[in-house]
C-alpha cells in the first residue's frame, strides 16, 4: 500500500524545499558561468599577448636588419657612417600587463616575455654587432644608435 502510494505520489518536494533547490542550482550555474568567462578572459589575454609579442618582435627585428643594411651599403661603397639613429616605440603595456624585451647577440634574438607565460622569440641576422639589452616595459620610446668606434648597434632610451 505504501509502495503504491510512493509510486503515484507526484508532489516531489515541498514548495520551500523546491525553492531552496532551485535557488542553489541557479547560484551554481551562475558561478560556473562566471568562472568559465573568467578563464576565457585569461586565456584570451595570454594569446593576445603572444600574438602582440610576435608582431612587435618581427617589427623590431626588421628595424635592426634595416639599420644593418644601411650601415653595410655605406661601408661597401667606401663611405662612412658618421652618425645614425633609428627611433622605435614600444607599447607601455600589452593587455594591461608589463613585459620584458631581451635583445641578445649570441644568437641574435629578440625574446619577449610576460608573467602570465606569454613568450615569443624572434630571430634576426645582421653582420655588425649589437650590444645586448634588456628592456622593461614602461618607457615607450627608444632608438638604435650606431657606435662608430666599435662598429656596433646600441639601444638607448629616447
Amino acid at each position: 500500500m505504501h509502495s503504491k502510494n510512493f509510486l503515484i505520489n507526484d508532489e516531489a518536494v515541498s514548495i520551500s524545499i523546491g525553492f531552496i533547490l532551485m535557488f542553489s542550482v541557479s547560484v551554481l550555474v551562475f558561478t560556473a558561468l562566471v568562472l568559465s568567462f573568467y578563464s576565457i578572459y585569461q586565456e584570451t589575454e595570454k594569446s593576445a599577448m603572444q600574438a602582440s609579442f610576435k608582431i612587435i618582435g618581427s617589427e623590431i627585428s626588421e628595424k635592426i636588419t634595416t639599420f644593418d643594411m644601411i650601415v653595410n651599403s655605406i661601408n661597401s661603397s667606401g663611405g662612412e657612417v658618421n652618425s645614425l639613429e633609428y627611433e622605435f616605440s614600444l607599447p607601455g603595456s600589452i593587455a594591461g600587463k608589463s613585459y620584458t624585451m631581451n635583445i641578445t647577440n649570441s644568437p641574435y634574438q629578440i625574446i619577449m616575455e610576460s608573467d602570465n607565460g606569454a613568450r615569443s622569440v624572434s630571430p634576426f641576422n645582421i653582420t655588425i654587432n649589437i650590444t645586448e639589452r634588456k628592456i622593461y616595459s614602461g618607457s615607450e620610446n627608444y632608438k638604435f644608435k650606431y657606435d662608430t668606434n666599435n662598429r656596433s648597434i646600441i639601444i638607448d632610451e629616447d
Binding site: M49, S52, I74, G78, E80, V81, L84, Y86
Partner: protein, 242 residues
C-alpha cells in the same frame, strides 16, 4: 492563442534553445572583443630603406653631372669648382624643398676637389678599396689611357679572354693602349690598384655599345638626412666623372 494556452512546455524548450544559442554567440563575440582590445599594435609610417638608398643614388648622379658640366666648360680648377658648386647648390636647394614636402630634411655638402690628389686605382677609388677588380667585360675594342701620379709597386692592367695579356706599369706617367679583337671579346681589369693612384679613361665598344669608363677624383659628399624615425649623417665617396 493556442501557443499561449498550450502547457506542454514546448514554448519553454524553444526559449531554452534560443538562450543556449545566444550564449554561444555571446561567448565567441566576447572572446574576440577581449582579444582585439588586448592587442597592442600601433601603426606608424617608417621610412623605407630604399628612400635613403635613392637619396645616395640621385646625389651620386648629380655630383657626376655637375663635375662633367664644370669640366666641359673649361677654365682653371677654381672656375671649374665654382661651376660645380653652383650646380650642387641648386640641386641641394631643390632636394631640400622636395623632401620637406614629405616632412623630411636633407642637406648635402661636398669637398673642394681642386687641391685633392687623384684617386687610387681601386674599385671605389679609396686606399681601402678592392685592389684587383674588373673595370669592364665583353669588350671588342678599347682605347685605354692611364695617368699614374703616384706609384708604389707593381700595378698591372689585365686584358683577358681565351688568353691573358698583362700590361705592366712600372713608373709614373701617362700610358695609352689600343686593343681590338674580331670575335673573342675580352675583359679589362686592374691588378694591384692600391699600389698606384692617378686617373684613367677608357672608351670603346663593349657588348655592341659604345662605352666610357673614367675616373679623375673621388669626391667625399656628406649627406644629412632626418625623418620622423631616422636621423643620419653619412659621408660617401663618389668617383667622377664616371
Amino acid at each position: 492563442m493556442g501557443i499561449i494556452q498550450n502547457n506542454d512546455a514546448q514554448f519553454m524548450l524553444l526559449a531554452g534553445f534560443i538562450i543556449a544559442i545566444g550564449l554561444v554567440i555571446t561567448t565567441v563575440m566576447f572572446s574576440s572583443i577581449i582579444f582585439e582590445e588586448n592587442m597592442a599594435i600601433g601603426g606608424g609610417s617608417d621610412p623605407s630603406k630604399n628612400e635613403l638608398v635613392n637619396l645616395i643614388h640621385i646625389t651620386k648622379d648629380e655630383t657626376r653631372a655637375a663635375y662633367n658640366n664644370s669640366t666641359a666648360s673649361g677654365g682653371g680648377n677654381t672656375a671649374k669648382f665654382n661651376n660645380f658648386s653652383k650646380q650642387m647648390q641648386y640641386f641641394n636647394g631643390n632636394l631640400s624643398k622636395m623632401y620637406a614636402l614629405h616632412g623630411e630634411t636633407v642637406n648635402i655638402s661636398w669637398e673642394n676637389w681642386t687641391n685633392k690628389g687623384y684617386a687610387n686605382l681601386t674599385d671605389n677609388g679609396t686606399a681601402n678599396g678592392v685592389s684587383n677588380w674588373t673595370v669592364i667585360e665583353n669588350v671588342k675594342n678599347s682605347n685605354i689611357t692611364v695617368d699614374v701620379i703616384y706609384f708604389n709597386g707593381a700595378f698591372q692592367i689585365r686584358l683577358k679572354n681565351s688568353t691573358e695579356k698583362l700590361i705592366n706599369i712600372t713608373s709614373t706617367g701617362t700610358f695609352s693602349f689600343i686593343n681590338s679583337t674580331a670575335n673573342d671579346p675580352y675583359s679589362i681589369a686592374f691588378v694591384n690598384g692600391a699600389n698606384a693612384s692617378g686617373r684613367f679613361n677608357m672608351t670603346g665598344n663593349a657588348s655592341g655599345k659604345q662605352f666610357i669608363r673614367a675616373r679623375d677624383y673621388v669626391i667625399n659628399t656628406t649627406m644629412t638626412f632626418s625623418s620622423n624615425r631616422i636621423k643620419t649623417i653619412l659621408t660617401i665617396p663618389f668617383s667622377v666623372p664616371w
